[in-house]
Amino acid sequence: MQPKPFQESRIIESKVLQNSIILDDVGKVFPNGKEVLRDVSFVVNPGEFVSLVGPSGCGKSTLLRIVSGLLEPTFGTVESHSEHIGYVFQDPTLLPWRTVAQNVRLFTELHGIEARERQALTADAIQLVGLSGFEHYYPKTLSGGMKMRVSLARTLTLKPPVLLFDEPFGAVDEVLRDRLNEETQSLFLSEGFAGLFVTHSITEAVFMSSKVHVMSASPGAIIASFDIPFEYPREHGLRFSSEFVSLSKSVSQVLRAS
């Protein structure tokens, strides 16, 4: 019999593993023979916010689908030690026949959470994204930004330790996008989830993330990674600081060279 290691260190170790995602040489070839991803390896640790930037069609969505379990990788492995991974799609994907509150409630229903707890989780999440008072509105009456908030709230009800974002703010105007970036960041800080964020906006990636991976197309592969050293919480004005601009420039250069 092996001697047991100290309880304490085991707990720490398992906690580290619990919330992280580890991709190891992930490759994807679709049945039609198209190679979309090759040798993608990276880690998302608890408390990290990692962005993937790359030209459209380079396999970012495919990668998120693999991480979430919707798709199987053809090569390599994805380890995830989180019981639930949240997924925010590019479209808000709200059910038009449900009100804001009913939409936010959906995932808790699907997971069979009992009514009273469901109610509380729903109310909390709605408040978190600042939609109190809009509970009984139908999606058709909401603006694009509000729909996105509903989508975010719906994901947050289950308090996922890891959240995947697939260009969630790609369709909104720049001013609104900046604001949603800041709000998402404060949720990231208050709720403590780890984020894997796909975008084609360099500013968005640098502003949000502690790490940015740049992908090239056909097949999608990571060609460079940047550590983003700015302290959280990050203020709106950071985007105009010279450090931010020069960091964005280096990311952009790699992206353009790819």
Partner: protein
């Protein structure tokens, strides 16, 4: 078919009435059809009195005579009302059966590609068969009673319900399905919480088309079978044979009203059920 109906509804909405005052809005809404209706009446009377001489006026009796003979003569009018009752009953029964069978069929097709591939070609074929060619066969098999009339209605109104319901059930976006998959939703949950509600707009479009077709089926069946209590179809035939022009036109008017009422009530039902959330794209 669905698209056409929806486009019509959209066109009505597109015209921006909001900027006009109430009175002018009302005038804009009612005046054009009113003017057209008056023109229509003028042409009607012109034909009745100027084109047709007295001996041939039975071909197109003027409206007031149609009203007098067909609607204000209780004997005639009660006969037409009875015809309306029988025909309305048959078309409603046929429609309800079509809705039940059609929705179940579409649901089975949505749950299994195999069933869809097996059944869909026949649905298309059913639609392609001229219904008049089927009517004698239906009578040959099931006799000339009410049952056969209902069958005619079902055959003629089934296809739009199946197709619309199936398209509706398949209309939820792939991302929404992904979302349900991510949260381990079973078939039944997916059907109940995603596919079925998503299908409702298309289903109602199908119901409305089929409701009109079912009325047509009931009249055609009654016209052809010509036995049993007289529905609108039998009356139409009788009035043609007896050269009763006023009664004929009155029956046609009542048939049209039946069709319109059925069409409208499904529009209303649709509004009640999905109006709150549905936004015609």
């Amino acid at each position: 078919m669905t698209a056409q109906v929806d486009q019509l509804a959209d066109k009505e909405r597109l015209i921006d009435f909001k900027q006009l005052s109430r009175g002018r809005r009302l005038a804009r809404l009612t005046l054009p059809p009113l003017v057209f209706g008056v023109c229509f009446l003028i042409v009607w009377y012109a034909i009745a009195y100027l084109v047709l001489d007295e001996k041939r006026r039975f071909l197109l009796s003027p409206l007031h005579e149609v009203l007098q003979v067909g609607f204000f003569d209780w004997d005639n009018f009660s006969r037409i009302l009875k015809g309306l009752w029988w025909t309305g009953r048959v078309s409603l029964m046929g429609l309800l059966i079509s809705i039940v069978i059609g929705c179940l069929l579409a649901m089975a097709m949505s749950q299994s590609k195999l069933v869809e591939r097996a059944v869909f070609p026949y649905m298309v074929t059913l639609q392609a068969i001229p219904i008049l060619a089927m009517v004698p066969l239906i009578g040959f098999w099931w006799g000339y009673g009410q049952f056969s009339r209902v069958i005619v209605c079902v055959v003629i109104s089934l296809f739009p319900i199946v197709v619309n319901t199936l398209l509706g059930l398949q209309s939820a976006e792939p991302e929404m399905h992904d979302m349900f998959t991510l949260h381990n939703a079973g078939r039944l949950t997916r059907l109940q919480k995603l596919m079925f509600p998503a299908a409702l707009p298309a289903m109602f479009a199908g119901f409305r088309i089929s409701a009109g077709l079912s009325v047509v089926g009931a009249i055609v069946g009654d016209f052809f079978f010509g036995q049993g209590p007289a529905g609108l179809g039998q009356l139409l035939r009788r009035y043609v044979n007896n050269v009763q022009g006023e009664e004929l036109l009155a029956t046609i008017i009542v048939s049209s009203i039946l069709g319109i009422v059925v069409f409208w009530s499904f529009g209303l039902l649709r509004k009640i059920v999905i109006g709150k959330w549905y936004e015609a794209a």
